[in-house]
Symmetry: C2
Subunit: 147 residues, 2 copies
Amino acid sequence: MISQKAKYALRALAALARADDRTPMLIADIAEQQKIPKKFLEQILLDLKHRGLVMSKRGKDGGYLLLKPAHEITFGEILRMIDGPIAPLPCLSQTAYRKCDDCLSEAECEIRHVFARVADVTREVLFSATIADTLHDKSRVAVMLAG
Amino acid sequence: MISQKAKYALRALAALARADDRTPMLIADIAEQQKIPKKFLEQILLDLKHRGLVMSKRGKDGGYLLLKPAHEITFGEILRMIDGPIAPLPCLSQTAYRKCDDCLSEAECEIRHVFARVADVTREVLFSATIADTLHDKSRVAVMLAG
DNA sequence: ACATAGTCTACCAAGCAGATAGAGTTTACG
DNA sequence: CGTAAACTCTATCTGCTTGGTAGACTATGT
C-alpha cells in the first residue's frame, strides 16, 4: 500500500495540472477540491516545492503552479520522493541500495530473483505513467465508449 | 518494501522445501541456517501452521514439515498472509477491498487507473512464483552458465 | 497598515514493526 | 513414571512511522 501522503501528493499535482497554468492555485482550493486536510497539504506542497516540482507565490493572488509539464512528472518519481524506494527489498533499490542485514549473499538469496522481477515490472508501470495521464477523465471515458 | 517478517517466512519455507520432506526440521535449525531470531521465527511458523501451510510435531524428534508441495505455495499467498493486500490502494484489493475515505468516486479517481496496472503486474509475478523457484540455486546457475 | 497566503518548526496520538520473555503443553524414551 | 526436547501461546516492550495539528513567522499586493 502506498501512503496517504503519496496519494495526496499525486492528487494535488493532478489538480494543478488540470488548472490554468498561469494563475496560481490556492492550497485551500486544492485541499477542498481533493478532500485533503489543509495543513497537511501545506507540508506536502512545500516539500514538492523544495524538490523543484512546483513553484509558489505568496500574498494576495498567491498559490501554487506546476513547474514542469504534467507529462514529464512520473508517478514513479513522486512515489520515490514521498514513500521512498520502489523496490520491495533494500538490496534491489536503485536509489537507496542497502545490503540486507540477514542475507548471506545476494547471489544465493532465495527470494531475491522473484522480487527483482516485481521491482522491474512495477518500475515499468510507474515511470511510464505521468500526471498527464490523470487528466481528461471525461474524454478518456468518451474514447472508451467510442472504442 | 516487504516486511522483515514476510522475508523470514519465505526463507523459512524455502528451507523446509530444501529439506527432507519426511523428517521434521527444527525451528532452531531453520533459525540458524537463515539467520532469523528464533523466538520470532516461532511465531511466524505457528502462524503458517494455523493457516494450513505447514505442520508440526512436538517433543523429541519434533519440528516442522511443509504440508503442500513447494510448487503449490506462491509468493503472493505468503505475502498476503503476512503483509496484507498486494494492491497499492485499498480500493484495488481483491481480498480486503475498502473504499478510499477521501476519494469521491472510483470511476473519476485520478490515480486509480495507474495503480490498477501496478496491482495487475505485481500479482502476475507474485502468484506465478512459488517456493519451488527458490530451490536448486546451484543448478540454476549451472543452467545459466550452460545456456 | 492590513489582509492574504505561503513557510517553517514543533509537537502529538495511535499504531505497527520487530522483536523478547516466560510459562505451559506434548512427546519420546529410558 | 520422570525428564529432556520441542513446539505453543500470550504478554510485553522499544523505537519508529503515519497522519495529522498548532502556531508563530514572512512575503506580497493595495
